[in-house]
């Protein structure tokens, strides 16, 4: 997975999203260490200060916790928190869709049926490599 510098989302937010998705998918389980600041910076090819900021935000959000001299570890509620965050991102996507529908003049009932149709579809895209 690469950080997309073309995306409008600030990189430290992209890093947080990346780690949250990884925790939600079970790549990093509660109690396990996530890559060090330096290792993550080199892996994602970004400034280590940006990674530091992302880690600080994630620590503030309770997803990870620092163990002095050892590293950053996923908290016991980490996975649950990550899942909640993912749900929040899904809602954001819904809201984007609703905005598009509103500006295109599509009424709410039609929006609901469009959602039903979309959720019945097979996802053609393979799980994003983390």
């Amino acid at each position: 997975m690469n950080i997309d510098s073309e995306k409008a989302s600030p990189i430290f937010i992209q890093i947080q999203d990346y780690i949250r998705r990884a925790v939600a998918a079970g790549v990093y389980k509660p109690g396990e260490a996530i890559p060090s600041l330096r290792a993550m910076a080199i892996k994602l090819k970004v400034n280590p200060n940006t990674v530091k900021r992302a880690y600080q935000e994630l620590e503030r959000a309770g997803l990870i916790k620092a163990r002095k001299g050892v590293g950053m570890f996923v908290t016991p509620d980490g996975a649950a928190g990550a899942k909640r965050h993912a749900e929040g991102m899904v809602v954001d996507c819904f809201l984007d869709g609703i905005r598009i529908a509103h500006s295109a003049g599509i009424d709410p009932s039609r929006v609901r049926s469009l959602f039903e149709e979309a959720s019945m579809r097979e996802l053609p895209v393979a799980k994003e490599a983390i």
Binding site: I3, S5, E6, K7, A8, S9, P10, I11, F12, R38, A41, I42, K45, V46, N47, P48, N49, T50, R53, R99, H102, S103
Partner: protein
């Protein structure tokens, strides 16, 4: 013994100006770059980026203003200061007749802090042949040699002047990986000017946008991205764009769509737009660094 405190800013300029006859290449530039951070200077061709860097390196004397690097005025103490700065120009002008190993030995003799192990590691990583004459190196290898010579003395400040210009994407990535590995290895200040805004967005803690010698904005990268938004306002029938809200750096309208880019966006910006009733609804969009940069420059050109 009195402890000499380290200067807080690695690079500090106050009113730095450079004039060539009647042309002002750099106009009253104020920069404050804290130690251990990465600063990206971006701007269109001819904005004055290279002139700025040359003044920081002491390769060009400012017409007026103060220029300090590592707490010392650039005009004074050339040997001690230059030994703590690594510099990679757009095209490294290493002696073309020297072999790579000769160039390394030549530069090494001027630095007490030269790290042989690092130099050797970079030489292997960059696949540089020590016996090859510098004049016969490809553009990419020459750029990598320039970086090796700049990094091996373990400088406190690394100044890169469009170092990846004209390099193919693979070499560009190798070059930036080298810079990033060095940033991760030990704390240092990096001053980078580049046209590749994706690289700047990735690496820089803070950015400055230069246009016709003037600094339009200097801010942390995240802050700039967070506070600069594109607003797409749909106008009511018959309405025309009203007064643009404070902080508007660019605006354009077509049919009933009024697009604006606002720096320092907040909820009050939308209230301002809606206040005279001409706007039906407003969509707020995030922008990446390249889009923000373009809008700053376009807006400047339109107002000129």
């Amino acid at each position: 013994m009195t402890q000499v405190s380290e200067p807080m800013f690695a690079i500090e300029t106050v009113g730095m100006t450079k004039r060539f006859g009647t042309c002002t290449a750099v106009d009253e530039l104020d920069l404050r770059i804290p130690r251990g951070t990465v600063f990206g200077l971006i701007g269109p061709n001819g904005a004055g980026k290279s002139t700025t860097i040359r003044m920081l390196m002491g390769l060009s004397r400012p017409t007026c203003g103060v220029v300090k690097v590592l707490g010392e005025h650039v005009i004074d103490c050339p040997t001690t200061r230059k030994a703590r700065i690594g510099y990679v120009p757009e095209t490294p002008s290493v002696y073309r007749w020297m072999k790579v190993d000769e160039a390394v030995r030549f530069c090494r003799s001027f630095y007490d802090t030269w790290n042989d192990e690092l130099c050797s590691r970079l030489k292997t990583l960059f696949e540089l042949n020590g016996e090859k004459v510098v004049g016969s190196l490809s553009k990419g290898s020459l750029a990598k040699l320039g970086l090796l010579l700049a990094i091996s003395p373990e400088p406190e400040v690394l100044i890169l002047d469009e170092p990846t210009a004209g390099l193919d994407p693979l070499v560009r990535e190798e070059f930036l990986d080298g810079v990033l590995a060095e940033i991760c290895r030990r704390p240092q200040t990096v001053f980078l000017s580049s046209h590749t805004l994706g690289d700047v967005q990735r690496l820089a803690d803070s950015v400055g946008i230069l246009h016709e010698g003037r600094l339009l904005v200097s801010s942390s990268t995240d802050q700039l991205l967070a506070s600069t938004k594109r607003l797409r306002a749909v106008l009511r029938d018959g309405a025309s764009p009203a007064l643009a809200p404070p902080g508007t750096i660019w605006q354009g309208s077509e049919h009933r769509e009024w697009s604006l880019t606002v720096h320092g966006f907040s909820e009050s910006t939308i209230e301002f737009l809606r206040r005279d009733g001409s706007v039906e609804h407003v969509e707020v969009l995030d922008l990446n660094l390249e889009e923000i940069f373009k809008d700053f420059i376009k807006g400047r050109r339109l107002s000129a």
